[in-house]
Amino acid sequence: MAQAPRFTGQRIRRVEDPRFLTGRGRYLADLEPLGTLAVAFLRSPHAHARIRRLDVTPALQVSGVAAVVTGADLTEANIYCAGLGGQPYPPLAVDEVLYVGHPLVAVVARSRAQAEDAIDAVVVEYEPLPAVVDPVEALAEGAPRVFSQAESNLCFHLEHTPEGLDALFAEAACVVRGTFRHQRQTAVPMETRGILAQYEPVSSRLQVYASSQWGHGLRDGLAKALGLPQSKVQVTLPDVGGGFGAKYGVYPEDVVVAWLALKLGRPVKWVSDRLEAMVSDFHARDSIHIAEGAFAKDGTFLAIRDHMISPAGAYLLDGSAAVLETVIASLVLPGPYKVQAVGFRIDGALTNTTPLGTYRGVWGPAATWVQESLMERAASELGLDRVQMRLHNMVRKEEFPYASCTGVVYDPGSYQESLQTAMEAIDYPGFLKRQREARAQGRYLGLGIAAFVEPTSLGAWQPEPPTVPYESAVVRMEPGGEVVVQVSVNSHGQGHETTIAQLVADALSVDIGKVTVRFGDTAAAPYGGGTFGSRSITVGGGAALEAAGRLRDKILAIGAHLLEAAPEDVELRDGTVAVKGVPARSLSLAEIGRVAHWVPAKMPSGMEMGLEASSRYVPPPITFSNGCHAAEVEVDPKTGRVRIQRYVVVEDCGVMVNPTIVEGQIIGGVAQGVGAAFLEELGYGEDGQPWATTLMDYHLPSVTDVPRVECLHLETPSAVPGGMKGMGESAMVASPAALVLAVEDALSPLGVRFERMPLTPERVWQAMTATRS
């Protein structure tokens, strides 16, 4: 047995921070091999138009220009991107542009400024075509089509009506309904996307650096697009300045830049500017839920029906929100509650807008809003207390593992406890009193509650999983006793260099300073699914723990052999292998390392040399974390402005490796939830012109918008080695619902219900005015 953990569970300062604090982090834009050429893209100003004439010759005359590429050039070279299910689409528009921001020409020049000069010189004549933006309109008879050859704009459809669903609704004492439109957003990592590619003649491979969440995926995608063997593409990830889902996948710009590097034999680099990021990064969310909930007289939640409609944009991408957000929602719509049946219908529509992809909390913000709103509305209709009604419907401790009617299985959690803890922290009875008093003075105070589950750490969640179902780790002890851990997950802010080192240091009973965690290079890191879906610490950390455990066994076996003791009589202790109870009889790890690497004669017979172990860890199909958010707000009736007075989060993510980092994820997630609930919206005019293309019109939460978040923790260990659960998305999943419901609660004397986010002061004020008149 190893010692009690010294590092796991501790609030350790992050190992990676000194370089970031001193300006020594190295992000994609900071890399500039000798002779690097810069790329700029010409993007469509129209939502839908035929390209009548495209003349790039003037661009070729601009000083410094090395090449100009059009969609036709790529078609001729047979270069395509892969959408959902591998469906090919051209990286640069051919014949027609399909959305504002659609790239149609790439220019390569000595400097980015020259490339942009050349972009200005390209001559394009567009013939505007009718555009369609709204998904409901896109699916209507006679709507303009995004692809004129297609029969309709319907690009995805799935529906399911379980047996007994209609009967549950027919017999229900109370049926509540609502329309819930989650606006279009985008993740906006502060570092924009970027890629640098160069052909390495010595090893005859394409070396790619990219700001990405998944090096192996980018490698595989580029190899496929360019027709290269995977072994001939190497992807290296430098420091990544945030991702939040927007950097998971292969973008058209990636394919174009990599192809140009091969064609030109020079390093080629593209760094997105913020204006193009707003129209070319995956857009996200954007779904309409037309939902109803059936409840019995005593408040028992019986069934849900939900019709989800989503505008996928011009292409249906692999991680399209139109599919992922809605399909996952259909599985987890009941949240922490027991429901007997969930019926759903999903319609995805092609539209003349930027394609949808992923953003932190895929499925969650909309689904949690639906689930908690149905609960609130039913409580008020049935005249029941909303907290009691939630408790009544939650899965209880003794009911785990709980098989939901949707087919997913919830592992143990603390659903009722987290709600109770949150209500104690926010002082629910005290709040009700404050609210009554405030109302008497004409003030609007509200409390929003969002109890949530977060499906994390996806393993083999389907027989043929669409995502890599495992992560890997290789743990190696060098002859000198230092430990190097190679993992397949990578960090874009999450702190893997620290948390995974904490786990491994404890598993091997060494000081954390002896452990180095490495990731992000496909030539060195083992294969895996990268960082997405709140799974790095569980699946990546689980793999690291398994590998470290195997290495520990080997170290103990060698130590026991050298100490002439039975393996069960020795233990790892502070960097030594010692005979239990006889600390004097011990060997340093450096000595074990020396023997394992240099002295075959002293090794146990038949044992392989070296100190290295690996693991490919497949976790349970889904590990659910859970918790509850409670937000107290006050609405100013004169301006519609909402002030968040208090914000409480109760989180149960199993065993916490580093509570400070867990809280960092929670607080950051709540801030993004504030953005969703009150500020951020990527709107489009009917003509398909985007309203928000700068950070001046896309309002990210600033320090003055966010509340102070009070974090409380419960701990229900999972079945993963170490007992952790994922949690990187939970705060994003629960906070919009908590905030919107808080505003509705504040305005309940007026009976205001919101059908769409964000709740800008204008929308709140208008809703209040409408009900007053």
């Binding site: 921070d17 000194p18 604090l21 001193t22 300006g23 190295r26 601009v62 420091d239 950070l695 320090v703």
Partner: protein, 171 residues
């Protein structure tokens, strides 16, 4: 006149001091201070998050004032004294109290906004060594951080202010 000639003529000699060291060179007049600091001076710690003056990632100090280096032309910095994140501390081992406090309070995640936030905070503490939480909120409203939700940044700045004034008081 060809574009080529126009550009050559559009270059001007520029000299400034960065982190105490003199720098001089010819700079295209259209280039921003951020670009010149990164690409000519080679100080990559100054980050560019929007290039339109909203995010504050590019914040540096010019003659003691916090400035968005994406909105300032390099030629405008001629004769100025500039401080970038690289000038805050001598090495990764000897951090400035602000940096130390950011580290202690987990005031950064991806680190991309961090140099700009540190420089803004540095300017605040120069101007107002004992800021209230409100002062910090107001001052920082021009720096966007997408990761942290700001709470730990505010605490770190507040704590650094106390550390710095304790240091001063002790002297």
């Amino acid at each position: 006149m060809s574009t080529e000639q126009l550009k050559t003529e559009a270059e001007r000699p520029v000299a400034f001091t960065v982190n105490g060291q003199a720098w001089r060179g010819w700079v295209e007049v259209r280039r921003t201070l951020a670009d010149v600091l990164r690409e000519e001076v080679g100080l990559l710690g100054t980050h560019v998050g929007c290039e339109h003056g909203v995010c504050g990632a590019c914040t540096v100090l010019v003659n003691g004032q916090a400035v968005r280096s994406c909105l300032m032309l390099a030629v405008q910095a001629d004769g100025c004294e500039i401080l970038t994140v690289e000038g805050l501390s001598e090495s990764t081992e000897r951090l400035h109290p602000l940096q130390e406090s950011f580290w202690d309070h987990h005031a950064l995640q991806c680190g991309f906004c961090t140099p700009g936030v540190l420089l803004s905070a540095y300017a605040l503490l120069q101007e107002n060594p004992q800021p209230t939480l409100e002062d910090i909120h107001e001052w920082l409203s021009g720096n966007v951080c997408r990761c942290t939700g700001y709470q730990n940044i505010v605490e770190a700045i507040s704590d650094a202010a106390s550390r710095l004034s304790a240091e001063k008081g002790g002297r």
